[in-house]
Point group: C2
C-alpha cells in the first residue's frame, strides 16, 4: 500500500502488477508457477495441459489401477473401473499412451490380447497422484464439513 522503491506513479486504480520484487522466496516461486500456467490458451501450456490430462476422471483411475495391480488387459481394466464406458476407456488409454505414460502391447493371437502397463514415466506420475490422494483424504472431513454447512 505504501510507496515502494522501484514503483513509479501508479495509475490510481491499477495496482502493483509489476512487483516482481516479491516479499518472500515462497511467493516468488508461486509467481513463477502462475506465469507458467497462465498462458493465453491459444498456445500449448505444459502445466495446464498435463494438469488436464492427469486431472481427468479416468486417467487417474487407470494410472492407479495399473499402479496397484500391474499389467492388465483391456477388459480387466474395464471391469476394475466399474463405471467407465468402453469408449472413454479407449480414449483415455490412447491419450496416456501418446504421452508415454503407459505401453500398449498387442499379442497377435485369437482371440486378441492387449496388455497395458505403466512406463517409468507413468510410475513417476503415479507418485504425484499418490501425493494428491494423500492430501485429499487427509483433508476430506475438513472440506466436506465446510462445504455442507453452508446455506
Amino acid at each position: 500500500m505504501s510507496k515502494q522503491e522501484g514503483t513509479q506513479q501508479l495509475p490510481g486504480y491499477l495496482e502493483v502488477t509489476n512487483a516482481v520484487n516479491s516479499h518472500t522466496e515462497e511467493q516468488k516461486k508461486f509467481q513463477l508457477f502462475f506465469q507458467k500456467a497462465n498462458v493465453p490458451a491459444t498456445q500449448l501450456c505444459p502445466v495446464r495441459d498435463i494438469m488436464a490430462r492427469l486431472s481427468d476422471k479416468w486417467s487417474m483411475l487407470v494410472i492407479l489401477a495399473l499402479g496397484g495391480f500391474g499389467t492388465m488387459r483391456f477388459n480387466e481394466l474395464k471391469h476394475k473401473i466399474g463405471d467407465v464406458s468402453q469408449r472413454m476407456l479407449t480414449v483415455t488409454l490412447r491419450n496416456l499412451e501418446n504421452d508415454g505414460l503407459l505401453t500398449r502391447t498387442i499379442y497377435p493371437e485369437i482371440p486378441p490380447r492387449v496388455e497395458y502397463a505403466l512406463t517409468p514415466l507413468g510410475h513417476s506420475f503415479k507418485e504425484q497422484i499418490a501425493g494428491f490422494a494423500n492430501w485429499a483424504t487427509a483433508h476430506t472431513e475438513e472440506i466436506y464439513r465446510k462445504r455442507f454447512s453452508d446455506s
Copy 2:
C-alpha cells in the same frame, strides 16, 4: 504367469482379481488409493471430487495467483488471469470459498470492495499444486516429444 501359492484354479479367461495378496507394499498402497477413488459416482468421493476441483482450469490459476501475490480483489484477479470470463471467475471463487480454500471479505464501502485470500487449507493445497507443477515442467519435454512424434 506361473502358478503362485494361494491361487486357486483360475476360470481360464478371468484373472486374479481377488489377489489382495499383492506383491509389494508399494502396490498395496495404490490398490488402496484405487479403491478409494473408484466409487460408483453416485456417492461422493473425496479423491475424485477434490481432484476435480484442483483439476479445473481456473481453480488452479486462482490458487496460484493468490499464493504468489497474496490477497487480491475481484478485478485484480480478473486482470491477472487474462482469459477468464467474469462468470467463471465468480463460480470458481464461490466453489473454492465453499470448500474453505479461500476467504471472501466484503468491505461495505462505495464503490464496494471484496478481497480474496487463501486460508491455511488453501495454502496447503497450493503446495500440492506446486508439487504437480514441478513434475509437469520437469517432464514436459519428454511428454511433448513423445506426443508429437506419433503418427
